[in-house]
């Protein structure tokens, strides 16, 4: 009996790892998807969208199964609420990547070439912020004293993404040959992507509280 319980718990550990893999993967898909979009490679872009939808479904399924197991087996009673919140917040980041990619697909914004580099830089910062968040979460489960090693990177990338986003917005509105409507659309895109890093930082703030609560 003990063996099967042990196995089940290790399964949960594996499932959490899988789930965090999905979040991390969604960041990479987003990055490459936008890159394909900027290059005008529509078929590769569509493929990335299809892929990220799959990943999102898998993430949802894993999250639900984890939540169920945590409650049914009354595991980690002292941190159960925190772990569920963390999983949900991470899932929300995954959803935002998917949503942003869909937005590119639906609105098909015309992004002038001079902004391509800025967009790619912004997306890189955002994806790094989320990646650092994924690593912090992994440490939370495996090696709680190591969480701090990753968490400060989340803030760093969030600040970087803020800087890039401000610079990009300023450049967009300084460009005279664009319609106001186009400027507004591009600004929305910049803000939408930048928000993901902000959300990652929010999750990281919450995680730091969870760590204090679990500190022995």
């Amino acid at each position: 009996m003990e063996f099967s319980i042990l196995k089940r718990r290790l399964d949960i550990g594996k499932q959490i790892d899988d789930f965090l893999d999905r979040v991390s993967e969604s960041g990479l898909l987003f990055k490459h998807g936008v890159s394909d979009f900027l290059k005008g490679n529509q078929s590769a872009f569509s493929e990335k969208i299809k892929h990220i939808v799959d990943v999102e479904h898998q993430g949802d399924a894993l999250r639900r199964s984890l939540e169920e197991q945590l409650y049914i087996q009354t595991l980690i009673p002292e941190s159960r609420g925190d772990v569920l919140e963390l999983l949900e917040a991470m899932d929300a980041l995954l959803d935002r990547f998917k949503g942003a990619l869909y937005r590119f697909d639906i609105e098909q914004p015309e992004i002038p070439l001079q902004f391509h580099e800025g967009f790619e830089e912004l997306i890189n910062c955002v994806v790094e912020a989320v990646e650092s968040m994924v690593q912090s979460s992994r440490a939370f489960f495996k090696n709680i004293s190591g969480v701090a090693d990753h968490m400060h990177k989340v803030s760093y990338w969030e600040t970087e993404s803020d800087k890039v986003s401000t610079r990009l917005q300023r450049a967009i509105f300084n460009k005279d040959d664009l319609h106001l409507s186009q400027k507004l659309q591009l600004r929305d895109f910049v803000m939408h992507v930048d928000k993901i890093a902000d959300r990652a930082e929010d999750v990281s703030d919450k995680l730091s509280i969870y760590v204090i609560k679990r500190s022995l």
Partner: protein
């Protein structure tokens, strides 16, 4: 009649289960690591096992109530203790059942004119401080060790969860077992002598002595207490004083078990009791406070703690007062004999014994051959004449106590041969036909026949056991 008298023992067992189970599983349930149902079932099983397998050992058989020398008195003492523990359980406070029993016995002592050992009173007060303090220190040390291990080995969150859960269950089972083993004699011990049960052999493999059957019933009573009513006190211990993390809960329960184990182990007990620390389970509260202080003391609910500590003071007092009142009622309204009157007389044999011990008997001359109905009366006379220390006082008292003992064949047949060795039984048989006026004369005569009946100056465990067997003999041979 037996069933009626037994009922108060069962009530005591029930309230013990309802209250003391909180020591073992309160923090585990409070930290939500183990469900109440799981805890209660595990606790019940191990309490019954402990009662039957370890409780029936010769050294415990009479328990604290053994000093109460009439069954109706034992009934009231058990009932008074049970009632006070029940009241405290209703108020959700963890208390010590053995202190309630001591309180009730003091009530009986006052009623029957027996002398209360002042040492046991001071011991109670000392344990209120010493036992929790010791447990607090242990809890802090254990917690530090566990934390070091977890951080050092980077234990995965879910594995840590699993290990803590099994740890809590294991320590809880161990604690329940010792709870049953240590307390069953207090619950059922006095009834052994009046038990109508005979030994049962199951398929010739297991042999259940009549004492074990009695202890099984007592164990079931404790278990029923755990299952039906222990939740309230468990919640106080687990959440009421402060919210504990599972790891802290584990440290607390382990510290509690460790303190009890230290008190119970013979070698250490000698060291601890020589410093005036008896074994009473108030440790759990101390252990919780220890963790609370380690965390800076902010999480501790001092109000609840105040309630609990005042409960410790109140419990023996309520038990004492209630026992006194009920004894009065039972003796005078129902004309039940609640105590064997003990008379005291300075017989020539007693004088010789006192002289031999090197105590001057000059001032005792006027007391010779006078009958005193109670120890209190005799003490008063003694105090009028001379000031002596309490050891000498107790020695004179035990030397002059009159107990008409006659060794008859019929009585020898009643002696439970499971409790005494063949050698001891032989010595007893050799004394057939003789009568004794004092208990110590019987002890001397038995000691003269075989070393197995002699006290040893260094072996406390042996002496305790001998005293229990002798107490049993007195009640059998008393005329």
């Amino acid at each position: 009649m037996f069933a009626f008298f037994l009922s108060s023992g069962l009530f005591l067992g029930w309230s013990l289960g309802a209250n003391d189970a909180s020591n073992v599983f309160g923090t585990a349930v409070g930290s939500k690591m183990i469900r109440f149902k799981t805890a209660a079932i595990c606790c019940s099983i191990f309490i019954i096992l402990g009662s039957v397998l370890s409780g029936a050992g010769a050294s415990h058989t009479l328990g604290k109530l053994g000093s109460v020398n009439a069954i109706a008195g034992a009934f009231i003492v058990a009932f008074a203790a049970a009632l006070s523990v029940y009241l405290m359980t209703r108020m959700r406070f963890p208390v010590s059942t053995s202190q309630a029993i001591v309180g009730a016995i003091i009530g009986w002592n006052i009623f029957s004119g027996s002398v209360t050992d002042t040492n046991s009173l001071t011991k109670i007060v000392i344990t209120w401080v010493a036992c929790p303090a010791l447990a607090a220190v242990f809890a802090i040390i254990l917690y530090k060790i566990v934390v070091f291990v977890i951080l050092h080995f980077n234990i995965y969150m879910f594995r840590q969860d699993l290990l803590t859960r099994w740890g809590l269950l294991l320590v809880g089972a161990f604690g329940s077992y010792s709870l049953g083993a240590n307390n069953i004699a207090n619950v059922m011990g006095v009834f052994i002598q009046v038990s109508p049960f005979t030994d049962i052999s199951i398929f010739g493999v297991f042999n259940l002595s009549s004492a074990q059957q009695l202890f099984f019933i007592g164990g079931v009573a404790i278990a029923v207490g755990v299952l039906t009513y222990s939740r309230r006190v468990m919640e106080t211990v687990g959440e009421g004083i402060m919210q504990l993390s599972p790891v802290a809960a584990f440290a607390v329960v382990s510290a509690h078990s460790l303190v009890l184990f230290l008190f119970a182990s013979q070698g250490l007990e000698r060291f601890l009791t020589s410093h005036g620390l008896p074994a009473i389970p108030l440790a759990i509260v101390g252990a919780v406070i220890g963790i609370g202080l380690l965390k800076g003391g902010r999480g501790i609910r001092w109000r609840t703690l105040g309630g609990i500590t005042s409960g410790w003071v109140i419990t023996p007092i309520i038990a004492g007062v209630f026992s006194l009142l009920s004894l009065f009622f039972l003796q005078n309204v129902f004309h039940q004999n609640t105590y064997q009157p003990m008379t005291y007389k300075l017989t020539p044999a007693a004088i010789a014994r006192i002289k031999e011990a090197g105590i001057s008997t000059q001032y005792l001359v006027g007391l010779a051959d006078k009958d005193f109905d109670t120890a209190v009366q005799f003490n008063k006379e003694l105090d009028k004449r001379v000031k002596i220390d309490s050891t000498q006082h107790n020695f004179i008292l035990s030397s002059t106590e009159i107990d008409q003992l006659k060794i008859t064949q019929a009585a020898i047949d009643k002696v439970n041969t499971d409790w005494i060795s063949p050698e001891q039984l032989n010595a007893l048989k050799k004394l057939k036909g003789r009568s004794f006026e004092h208990k110590w004369q019987l002890v001397q005569a038995l000691g003269g026949e075989t070393p197995a009946w002699q006290f040893s100056p260094n072996d406390r465990y042996h002496n305790d056991e001998l005293n229990n067997r002798l107490a049993n003999l007195y009640s059998i041979f008393r005329q």
